[in-house]
Amino acid sequence: MNEAVVFDTVDKSFAEGPEVLSEVSFDIAEGEFVCLLGASGCGKSTLLSMIAQLERPTGGAIEVTEGGAAFMFQDASLFPWLTAEQNIMLALRLAEGRCQIRQRKVRRQRAAELLDLVRLSEHAHRRPHELSGGMRQRVALARALAQERPVLLMDEPFGALDAITRSLLHEELLRIWRTTGRTIVFVTHSVDEAVHLGQRVLLLSSRPGRIIGEWEVAEEDREGARRAVLVDEITERLRNEVGRHGGDTH
């Protein structure tokens, strides 16, 4: 199978600061759904930024499939002067070459579809500051999907949602993933979410960030007793990792 993302002993540090990521190596196959877990501040967002080529590694090499990655940022990052609909239309417009939508009318239609998908049709004409945090995240999801890129990076996308909306969007995301064959890298703090969505779960350590755990999640691991065992095992490792730095939180 072809690889969508390859990290080969990647190091990353900022200016004078300590090393954030150290010798990180992994491959993500085309069409794979990978979840990334790790303590706060361990470098997950930094890792995604490097996949999106917004940051350069200080060592090692990164390869990303042609077409690049869409990025759903941790803080939504919508443009404050545009409405929800216009934010999505802008993404469609800038993606013109990729998704072949040249007419404004068609773009508007596509934007309406995407807003409907994230259940925000009634709020299409609101601006970001008039939306709740969870609504902004959903607009950001719609905008990321509008870009039609082969890789989708999601940085704690559903953190601010109620349980019901979250599970609706989980199913929607899985459906999109199955039907479009996109490669998804999904950062989360929730082991449950990671096991529910991912085919593979990667665990990142802190200071410096290294891959210290990797689990394949088979279909039968997603339910019942096997699921509980897997969730417990990953939670235990994550707890150790967070605990290791528990004393020096700021």
């Binding site: 990052s77 002067w81 417009r93 870009q147």
Partner: protein, 172 residues
């Protein structure tokens, strides 16, 4: 970089009262309307450019990152992201530029009269002085003040308020 190169120059120009340009303008353009336009222009330009530069510097880096991820080229980055992002500072600069211009226009009309120059409020003021007619002088002063306030309230204030409210930077 832009700021390092032009910053001191622009700030210097902003401090220089643009009336100081009147003699030069009269020499270059004679007593014509061009003189007036030139003085107004020199009065407004530093504020406007300052507003632009300040705006560019205040654009959050995250906007650039989003633009790059969305696939914007240089032109699109400028027109669709940078310009809308700096619009409030630009209008702020225009507003300040207008205040400077209006002042210098009045001063210019008092200093330079005659030739083919039109008759304005400043000229009225100067005539009032020449005729020692206090009522004319006071009326002119009031009208000058009124025009300034009206433009401020009817043109700039609403534009600025609208820009800020749509961005959620002001309680509506």
């Amino acid at each position: 970089m832009l700021r390092q190169a032009f910053g001191p120059l622009i700030s210097g120009l902003q401090v220089l009262p643009s009336v100081a340009w009147v003699p030069a303008a009269v020499i270059w353009f004679g007593l014509t309307d061009a003189t007036v336009y030139f003085v107004i222009f020199m009065g407004a330009i530093p504020s406007v450019v300052n507003g632009l530069i300040a705006g560019v510097r205040q654009v959050p880096p995250q906007h650039h990152r989003v633009g790059r991820v969305l696939g914007a080229n240089r032109w699109q980055m400028t027109t669709r992201i940078l310009l809308p992002a700096i619009l409030p500072s630009y209008v702020g600069g225009l507003r300040q530029g207008w205040a400077f211009s209006w002042r210098s226009l009045m001063a210019a009309e008092i200093i330079a009269t005659g030739g083919s120059m039109g008759f304005g409020l400043g000229t009225l003021l100067d005539q009032g002085r020449a005729l020692a007619d206090m009522s004319v002088v006071l009326t002119a002063v009031l009208i000058i003040l009124l025009v300034g306030v009206v433009v401020e309230l009817l043109v700039f204030a609403p534009i600025e308020r609208r820009l800020l409210t749509t961005r959620g930077l002001l309680e509506s």
